[in-house]
């Protein structure tokens, strides 16, 4: 078999992404048809920058979903004779298979590794960001609302974490040694409690006068929450559904820990601003509880800046995960994580450039998409 030419490589790659193109067309058509009913998301289609961002982000989400059918080869298997081969090289001994973007230093398919890598990033980054938001919101609302000593102490602690150079914190927190001491587990034990606290407070403040609604909601939250908590934080899930690899847990917890103080500061600032509004005073006069005001009056009115920051923060988390991978602190040594692939590829950059480039462009385009999306959302939400 002959080596593919550049145009053949491009056509084949576009062909591999067929499920993504179909998905993109369906989602965009539906969104444009119903855009008047979709609130802020619908308004996004008024800004070209926002649409460009949305397309990039959707592309990677769909790629992660359909990764198994897009990838041409197994991302981990090494095929002899394919070491550092140029893009478009036919796989030895396999008729009709090519390494579309070449082989890496361990003779694995660069294209499939890039595609599979999107799954890792898109599983960890949004989840870690959601957890950071839960922590930041649960602590930031009371700090901003009550002020005083509580605020002083919590702000000091947040600034303490923020004053830590991020890279140093990662070097200290993500190591094989620290796992044997159990530090990540008790960090997880504390941080993973916040989503449960958040939802309990949310339902309790809303339905405290209606026991018939309150108890089912609280019950479901506690059962589901504590079940997931036991599995994720301590790996003691009795049914074995929730489980996190210790290495992954370590990375996840560190990323949440680094991000939550910033979210805390944003939420605190927004709360201080919003609590002087008339509708808060009205709620206070009605005799609503403080937590009701915080969660059902202040928080919904702070959603604009928070949604924008959420997009930006997923991008930032993606960059952080890449940084971790770059220093060899990635999920697992073999995994096709983008940061780690860049790190492996950079060592041979002067001779073979092709293994390092695809993951760099992948990471850049995902972060760019998120940043553009955030910019579009900011513009549209300011227009209200």
């Amino acid at each position: 078999m002959d080596r593919l030419t550049a145009s053949e490589i491009i056509i084949r790659m576009l062909g591999q992404f067929t499920p993504v193109w179909i998905g993109l067309v369906i989602i965009l058509t539906l969104s444009i048809i119903f855009k008047r009913r979709l609130g802020l998301y619908g308004k996004l289609f008024g800004s070209p920058i926002g649409v460009a961002g949305l397309i990039l982000v959707l592309f990677w989400i769909l790629t992660a979903i359909f990764a198994d059918s897009i990838a041409t080869m197994d991302p981990l298997s090494q095929i002899s004779g394919m070491k550092n081969k140029k893009p478009g090289w036919p796989v030895s001994g396999m008729e009709g298979h090519w390494y579309l973007l070449g082989g890496d230093n361990l003779a694995r398919d660069v294209f499939s590794r890039m595609v599979k890598g999107s799954q890792i990033v898109l599983a960890i980054a949004p989840a870690a960001t959601i957890f950071a938001f839960m922590v930041g919101i649960t602590l930031g609302l009371p700090a901003g609302f009550y002020g005083g000593k509580l605020d002083t102490i919590m702000s000091f602690l947040a600034n303490l974490v923020l004053a830590f150079p991020v890279i140093l914190l990662f070097f200290l927190l993500v190591t094989p040694e620290i796992r044997s001491t159990g530090v990540p587990f008790w960090l997880a034990g504390v941080l993973f409690l916040f989503p449960i606290i958040f939802f309990c407070l949310l339902f309790h403040s809303k339905f405290s006068g209606q026991p018939s609604k309150l108890y089912p909601y609280l019950g479901i939250t506690l059962v589901l929450g504590l079940w997931a908590y036991s599995g994720l934080a301590f790996n003691k899930d009795p049914l074995g559904v929730f489980y996190m690899d210790p290495n992954l847990l370590n990375i996840f917890v560190s990323v949440v820990f680094v991000n939550s103080p910033t979210v805390f500061r944003i939420v605190r600032g927004l709360t201080i601003d919003i609590k002087t509004r008339d509708y808060v005073a009205a709620a206070q006069t009605r005799g609503e509880s403080p937590w009701y005001i915080m969660l059902w009056e202040v928080l919904p009115n702070a959603r604009g800046p928070l949604i924008v920051d959420f997009c930006l923060r997923i991008g930032y988390t993606t960059i952080l995960l890449g940084t971790l991978g770059f220093f060899g602190l990635g999920v697992t040594p073999e995994s096709p994580d983008w940061g780690m692939t860049i790190n492996e590829g950079r060592k041979l950059l002067a001779v073979y450039a092709h293994p390092a480039l695809p993951p760099t462009f992948a990471l850049m385009s995902l972060v760019l998409g998120l940043n553009l999306l955030a910019d579009g959302l900011r513009e549209e939400s300011l227009r209200d």
Partner: protein, 349 residues
């Protein structure tokens, strides 16, 4: 101003103490100490031997006491061997005159410790490496700040224009390109065989002795790029806000030319916000410095930090952390003071 400074410095000192204690705790975890023992003694030591070595060398005291010793506020440990009667101690090992050791020997006395990897005194290593990184940072600042300010001012001058839109899109692109991405792309484009330009060198090792345009451009560009977008966006926002002010309209209506208004009236007020951002950028650059120095093999402060972590060099890592934390806190203080200084409207509570 005086009480503000005093309060601010107090908080800073407390933060510094907390942070160094956390670093001390995290670097002195049990597995790290075991590794240290085995690299100091030999790899085949039994658990009992490891424990006795740690006992002998003062690692079995309470953590807070050891932190005090390291900081130089608690007297260093001494121990008399029961069999030989020989006296050993923290300060005796480090003293110039072992017969008459000082009571305290910690950070405050200028005793930074001894690096296991470099086999040198840490104070010397740190000052040498910081010098190298300072050169890099200076070049980065010289490139980054003017470029970012010019982009931001031109974009914010006429908000919503085509120039503004394209410059803003470029800024977003630059903030989406972390150093390890732009560095790799730059090396491929400008120094590899693949593209064949070969304008610059893909490593900056030679720049440690002799900085040339060829070996220093890529690291500086890589580091500056990520920050440019961020500062430019801040400047743009601040500039756009100033341009809507009443006094700008007044100046325009008086018949002043547009460039005159921008340069004389808008610029000075628009630069207050970016000032804070630029100063706060310095600690933020630290992550970038670590990445760039590793990528381009420039053996400065960031490279040393990675080496210290990789080789479990506890004392060197502690020293690096102290410097990093110090830089962060000082820049925060400068940015606070500068903000107040530049903006007389800010009242100090």
């Amino acid at each position: 101003m005086g009480s503000f400074l005093l309060k601010r410095s107090g908080v800073m000192l407390l933060t510094a103490l907390c942070l160094t204690f956390i670093v001390f705790f995290l670097t002195n975890l049990e597995p790290n100490l075991e590794k240290l023992t085995k690299s100091e003694g030999n790899m085949r030591m039994s658990d009992a031997q490891v424990q006795s070595w740690l006992q002998k060398n003062g690692y079995r005291q309470p953590l807070i006491k050891r932190y005090g010793e390291w900081l130089g506020v608690a007297p260093g440990w001494t121990r008399t061997d029961a069999e030989t009667g020989k006296v050993t101690g923290r300060c005796i090992r480090r003293a110039e005159d072992p017969a008459n050791p000082p009571k305290f020997c910690g950070l405050l006395q200028g005793n930074w410790g001894f690096s296991l990897v470099f086999k040198e005194d840490i104070a010397g290593i740190i000052s040498e490496k910081l010098g190298l990184t300072a050169k890099l940072m200076l070049c980065v600042m010289l490139v980054m700040v003017p470029t970012a300010l010019i982009i931001g001012i031109i974009a914010g001058m006429r908000e919503g224009s085509k120039t503004d839109r394209s410059l803003s899109a470029l800024s977003i692109l630059s903030t989406s390109t972390p150093e390890y991405v732009s560095g790799v792309i730059f090396i491929v484009v400008f120094s590899s065989k693949l593209v064949g330009l070969k304008w610059f060198k893909g490593t900056a090792t030679t720049a440690m002795e002799n900085i040339t345009f060829e070996n220093f451009t890529l690291p500086v560009m890589t580091l500056a790029l990520y920050g440019i977008g961020y500062i430019a966006r801040m400047t743009r926002a601040s500039m756009a806000e100033v341009m809507t002010e009443q006094y700008i309209r007044t100046a325009r209506l008086k018949g002043l030319s547009f460039p005159g208004v921008v340069l004389k009236h808008a610029l000075r007020n628009a630069l207050i916000a970016p000032f804070t951002v630029i100063i706060l950028q310095i600690p933020w650059l630290l992550t970038g410095v670590v990445i760039v120095e590793t990528l381009f093999n420039y053996k400065g402060f960031g490279w040393t930090l990675v080496a210290a972590v990789g080789n479990n060099d506890i004392e060197l890592l502690l020293a690096c952390s102290v410097v990093a934390v110090f830089v962060v806190l000082v820049t925060q203080l400068i940015s606070d003071i500068g903000y107040v200084f530049l903006n007389p409207r800010i009242r100090i509570s």
